[in-house]
């Protein structure tokens, strides 16, 4: 009797351990990929950024330690597209991303709320509102936008509205300061670029909205809350986890499309300066991570996240 009990106990433990081992086997492809395609390149990039990389006689690479010289070169270098210094492009991109990310997230939340309401023609509205998933591909956006400028640019598809009317209207009929007016008109002129980024986020928000328990709304109605209060007291707090996800997704996506990333290739392979290119990669990487931490910090101040067992 005793022997069998011990035996079954032993078997059970080994079963659980087997399960863990099986689980690790399932993770194995990703783990190998993580080491090969993530850790190794990451370490190498950081290594290259402190070295001058040249080609050796036998076809390999030679590394010469140069300290921080690559980084100082980087901030003085001019970028490929415009004759601007890198530092300028860098700050511009960061400001752009910090301006556009909240706008995209709020806009997609708005779209999701609109298509979540029951009305006639909702199916059609959903089809159109999710089109940016397809239309927002970088290739498609690049292809649709016109390349030729000129004074008859209206004849083709232009990414820009005529915003002077909007600026005049806002300046004359509202009491907004000039900065705010210019910001709004900037948003309006970039509306197609912004909209083309919203597809997936709208989908995420809509899924989140539909997962909210209906009875909560009923209770709020019975208690006498109006739609405004329902939105701020129920919808938004329950969406906070999702908005965090949408925010991070948007943020990463914006960085993927920023022009900094194309510069990396330009520095490394067109200018044949792998050291500076790697220094740029490192700066870019830390930029993303620091911005993200900043974003999370701001988010944690603004909204209380539901730290459940999620």
């Amino acid at each position: 009797m005793e022997g069998t009990a011990v035996k079954t106990k032993k078997l059970r433990v080994s079963h659980q351990n087997m399960r863990k081992i099986h689980g690790l086997i399932f993770m194995l492809p990703w783990l190998i990929g993580f080491i090969l395609f993530f850790i190794k390149p990451l370490v190498n990039t950081i290594k290259y950024s402190f070295h001058e990389v040249g080609v050796a006689d036998n076809g390999g690479m030679t590394l010469k330690y140069v300290g921080l010289q690559n980084f100082t070169n980087l901030f003085r270098a001019e970028v490929s597209s415009q004759s601007q210094t890198f530092a300028r492009v860098f700050t511009d991109e960061n400001i752009d991303i910090f301006m556009n990310t909240p706008v995209i997230v709020i806009f997609s939340l708005f779209c999701a709320i609109l298509v979540n309401v029951k009305f006639k023609g909702r199916g059609l509205a959903r089809v159109i509102f999710f089109l940016p998933i397809v239309l927002g591909l970088k290739v498609v956006v690049d292809l649709i936008m016109i390349t030729s400028g000129g004074d008859v640019a209206d004849a083709a598809v232009s990414s820009q509205f005529d915003t002077s009317g909007l600026i005049n209207f806002l300046l004359n009929y509202t009491f907004l300061p000039l900065n705010v007016t210019l910001f709004i008109s900037d948003l309006a002129s970039n509306i197609f670029m912004l909209i083309s980024q919203t597809g997936v986020q709208t989908l995420i928000f809509l899924a989140g909205l539909q997962s909210i328990n209906r009875s909560l709304y009923e209770v709020a109605r019975i208690e006498g809350a109006n739609s405004y209060e329902v939105f701020w007291k129920i919808t938004l707090p329950l969406l906070s986890n999702i908005s965090l996800f949408a925010l991070i997704y948007t943020f990463v996506d914006m960085f993927l499309q920023s022009s900094i990333s194309t510069e990396i290739y330009y520095f490394a392979f067109n200018k044949n300066n792998i050291g500076v290119g790697s220094a740029l990669s490192v700066v870019y990487l830390f930029n993303v991570l620091i911005d993200l931490v900043l974003l999370l910090f701001i988010m944690s101040k603004v909204v209380k996240l539901n730290h459940g067992d999620k």
Binding site: G23, P29, A207, F245, S261
Partner: protein, 331 residues
């Protein structure tokens, strides 16, 4: 008596009227918002149509904006001749996207299952690493990834067996390799989606399977995976669309491949404007072709490129939302 009755009726009328007005005003505002936003989203597409069907010589003519004077399909013909050829490249890139999507689903599903369900050692650390690899943009690792693919070696094993390192750049299987090891287009996000989904799946299903005598793998393939259809559908759609439109991995790691997205980007790059204009002028006898004609051809190419995506999108769009909702990204 009579007067009071009239009064109540009047009061009800007023209430109904107010309610109706309320509904009308809000309905009006709501519909105008929806229609306005919808219009803003499809405006670029609407604006394309008159351009691509226009006679090439009339482009840039300020008299012709919305309704072409002469219709022609020259831009489509030029686009097909320049990029699409006999549509084999399109089939190839569609096939490529499907295969990559399947690989991504397979790898991400097993990794997600393991992260969501199995309590192995260091699981939280691995989850954190998955999120980290989602957050770090792949471009920042481009240079050393490129170099390590150029002289590919796994801890010296390959050079010991093969004599030298192998060049993986411009090999068709490089992209499949990247996808198989979990670092394709936004693959970390897919792992996360699967993790969330499997976490929400009821435990009883697996326990029942275990009692009935299923091992770990049988449980996964017979019980967990068939129940994961919503997550699989979501990931499949996104993976397919993103791989079809991907220019990063295809462009850097297999630049000579038959991928349409890549081909379109190089054909219609700004350096190529004059060549394409020359080609259009000689092929279709349009001496008056300007840069507007270049844009028209480019946009016609974009429409042809989008057609399969739009077709698939309209077929599955009804299921996208419900799948996404169930796919557990919400939790």
């Amino acid at each position: 008596m009579a007067t009071s009755e009239v009064k109540t009726v009047k009061r009800i009328d007023g209430y109904v009227l107010k309610d109706k007005l309320h509904k009308f005003v809000f309905g009006y505002l709501f519909y105008s918002l929806v229609i306005g936003l919808g219009f803003a989203i499809i405006y670029p597409l609407i604006k394309l149509l008159p351009v691509v069907f226009n006679n090439l010589e009339d482009l840039g003519n300020p008299d012709v904006i919305w309704v072409p004077i002469k219709y022609s399909t020259v831009s489509f013909q030029a686009a097909i001749r320049l990029v699409f050829g006999n549509f084999v490249p399109m089939l190839q890139s569609l096939g490529y996207s499907v295969i990559i999507a399947i690989i991504q689903i397979f790898v991400c599903a097993i990794a997600g299952y393991s992260l969501g369900r199995v309590e192995f050692w260091g699981r939280n650390l691995l989850t954190f690493l998955v999120i980290l690899s989602f957050v770090v943009p792949p471009q920042s690792l481009l240079i050393s990834q490129y170099l390590s693919f150029k002289h590919f070696d796994i801890f010296g094993i390959i050079s010991a067996m093969h004599g030298s390192t192998i060049d993986l750049i411009n090999q068709p299987y490089t992209l499949y390799l990247i996808a198989f090891f979990g670092f394709g287009v936004k693959q970390s996000m897919f792992i996360f989606v699967f993790r969330q989904f499997f976490k929400g799946l009821p435990k009883e299903l697996e326990e029942a399977a275990f009692i009935d005598g299923c091992g770990f793998y049988k449980t996964y393939f017979r019980v967990a995976l068939p129940n994961a259809v919503p997550a699989i559908m979501t990931v499949a759609i996104l993976a397919f669309v993103w791989n079809y439109g991907d220019t990063y991995y295809t462009g850097y790691f297999h630049p000579d491949g038959p991928y349409l997205s890549n081909k379109l980007m190089t054909t219609f790059s700004e350096a190529n404007v004059q060549n394409i204009l020359y080609a259009i002028k000689t092929w279709y006898a349009v001496p008056g072709a300007t840069t507007f004609s270049f844009d028209a051809v480019k946009q016609a190419a974009a429409i042809i490129y989008l057609l399969p995506l739009l077709l698939i999108y309209f077929l599955v769009q009804k299921r996208i939302v419900e799948n996404f909702e169930q796919s557990g990204i919400v939790g």
